[in-house]
Symmetry: C2
Subunit: 491 residues, 2 copies
Amino acid sequence: MSALQELLAFQRETEALAQIAGRLDWDRETMMPRGAAPQRAEEAAALEGVLHARRTDPRLGDWLAGATARDEVEAAHLRLIGRAYARNRKVPAALAQEIARTTSLAQGIWAEARARDDVAHFLPVLTQVIGLRREEGEALAAGGSAYDALLEDYEPGATAEGIAALFARMRVRLVALRAAILGSGRYHPALEGRFEAKAQLALAQEVAGAFGYDFGRGRLDLAVHPFSSGSGLDVRITTRVSETDPLNCLYSTIHETGHAAYEQNIDRAYLLSAIGRGASMGVHESQSRIYENQLGRSRPFAGWLHARMKAHFGAPAARDADALYAAINGVQPGFIRTEADEVHYNLHIMMRFDLERALIAGNLVPADLEAAWNDRFAADFGVAVDRPSHGMLQDVHWSLGLFGYFPTYSLGNVYAGCLHEAMQAELPDLDARLAEGHLAPATDWLRQRLQCHGGLREPARLIADACAGRAPDEGPLLDYLEAKYADLYAL
Amino acid sequence: MSALQELLAFQRETEALAQIAGRLDWDRETMMPRGAAPQRAEEAAALEGVLHARRTDPRLGDWLAGATARDEVEAAHLRLIGRAYARNRKVPAALAQEIARTTSLAQGIWAEARARDDVAHFLPVLTQVIGLRREEGEALAAGGSAYDALLEDYEPGATAEGIAALFARMRVRLVALRAAILGSGRYHPALEGRFEAKAQLALAQEVAGAFGYDFGRGRLDLAVHPFSSGSGLDVRITTRVSETDPLNCLYSTIHETGHAAYEQNIDRAYLLSAIGRGASMGVHESQSRIYENQLGRSRPFAGWLHARMKAHFGAPAARDADALYAAINGVQPGFIRTEADEVHYNLHIMMRFDLERALIAGNLVPADLEAAWNDRFAADFGVAVDRPSHGMLQDVHWSLGLFGYFPTYSLGNVYAGCLHEAMQAELPDLDARLAEGHLAPATDWLRQRLQCHGGLREPARLIADACAGRAPDEGPLLDYLEAKYADLYAL
């Protein structure tokens, strides 16, 4: 076997083991009995130890040095494996295991704290998680920015400085748009009534299928915080149900369907390879957001959805399709990021981005996080946080050590704006098909232009290739938002 | 660290990884989307490769040579780890991986074949599995009996010759008892009616709890073939539901509760160690069988059960408690091992034992298995097998490569007979408590006498220690059966 062949065979087993680690996480969030948590933490740490040993195996260095790429695909294998190897060699095995062990426990403690609105219960383990991730970031940065080093894991090539500049540009137009909407005197009420959980899940199942999710290689379950999990032939999604708010379940499902469809649609030739996963978290989020927002919250789709909700719930959820369209696009300050409208969503991200940079830099101590969160929220949203589960305890991310992850949500929105503009230019009958609940033209376009490539290309290049060569920027997203809400709020 | 400490720390991680492998199997049988099967086979093979490398790591040999046991517990660690190490060094890594990969696929093919009653669909992969396990048995036996070598994995110290002699002694009394019952002119009909699936599962949940199963460290799901999975803090059980036969779900659940309670009740100090699992498959089966039969099919328990079934189903399942007692102990030839009465059960095992010995020895080729099965079944049970899912396709075991496993079911019955005799002698009010659905005296006796010790002692010694020093033999089981059925059938 050549060095390249040996490298790829070794990598394939590593990817298979990484899939197992992901499935353990899925199990912990959906199926695991609570009393199993301490044992699971040890299991996760043991598997993390195996993965770390493989990812830092010196033979990788030899194979990488001896391998030559003959085409774009082989070059991508070498680039991705090489980058991960260089990164992983910098993190001591004991630290990697400790992070796995601590975050596995922290997630359970976070869930308890959130259920009891008990910040104090969460702070000790959060402090540990921050300390461990800071240590990891410093090991990776070798004198540079620890936060940038963590960010690099989720969005290769991105920096806190670049994101801060992007967010500053977006903020001006978003704040102006928000002010215009809230000052318009118009108000689009949410849906009212009770919506049976079983019917919500049946609707979620149907809509996920309509968006191209393959249940033969996946499944839909309940979780506290919806997520998508796995790659290739086993990609699972989760959702949650509130009987008074059917849009929570529905749009959580569509969002996770976007993530899952991306993984399911990657070229089968890349199965269990470094290319066989999404290109970055930002690109991943672009798929979940374009499914959820540009497609799922469009006026034509709302027409189809109105009929399907009536069929599932036995009565119309809104007066007519226009009222449903208004309800799924109502803009108002809310506590919860995952329920936020498209205007407020990026403001949620911007505050998390600033807070987590400060936590990692040590400029904010965990004991002050709740006050800092609540101050910033009041300033940006004009509302006082009424309880921690509506504030700093709402998201699972920090308990899992995912610092540097939040900004990729807004990058995803920016990418989604670019992709949507390009898709509209190339699919003139897009709206007519959406109105029939026929999502295939849109999802096929995304599959062929972007999803099938997996991690073959770097994020910015991948988006540009899908968008007729135009490098991604915030313009299309903000143009889309301003036009959409000018119409909805008669601005 | 001393050699012993290093050995135990290494073993702890191996045990944690083995727990993950078990949980993957649970997932495959309960949750996994069917289309994931090829990827899962690779994942299972990769993890098996990691486990095999750890179990054959030459450092184990060094640590074992350098370690000294200061007490019974340390001696047990060294004995169990040493035995496994000696065994695993004999099996090539490639063969171990191939067995994992093939059996993972074979299980899915078996499930399809069983659903379609299609023996031909199953034969090619069964042939592969037999060939691989024979190769493994021969590598282990080093010139001795391949079947004995496989059997050793499930019941240390047992041999085919010893089991054949035991079965010959049991057969004489069982055949005579069977003839007396079938010739008695009495017939105890099964329950009639439809029993809602949801109510069956609620009853199963209640009964599992009554038998001491801790749902805080476990869960109950549906599977084609009920099983128990995991050790320590995460021990899961499965059951199945037939709306016309509530006893299938109920007694499958009690059976798996016996297995699971054993694992849950092992001393916490042995968590994730070689001792932290049941002593053998036979001892494991003794726990599932004593829960299911000697306790769960006793006359006093039937009285409590009658009231609980009435509460769950809204109407009595049988005329009165005596009629229910008769129905749960009806003796008649049936196709399905897991539904067999206590008299026929061991006859099912005896035929599987003879057939699988012949398969491994090469005296029976898979193409002839269906005919051989059906001939033997007709001879032993006086009934012709009507379809393969009632015959050779009914059990999952052979698809998983579990040759040498079946006889441990009857060893378990023999051990259960011994334990029940000893328990009755020491707990004079046992029947009075069972009549109240109060299982704790019986389950506490089993926990303190046997379960808490995990793998600390060898099977025969463990049973003898629990039974006031009496070595296990078939006498108590057959005495119990003859007395029980003499009463039920007025023999």
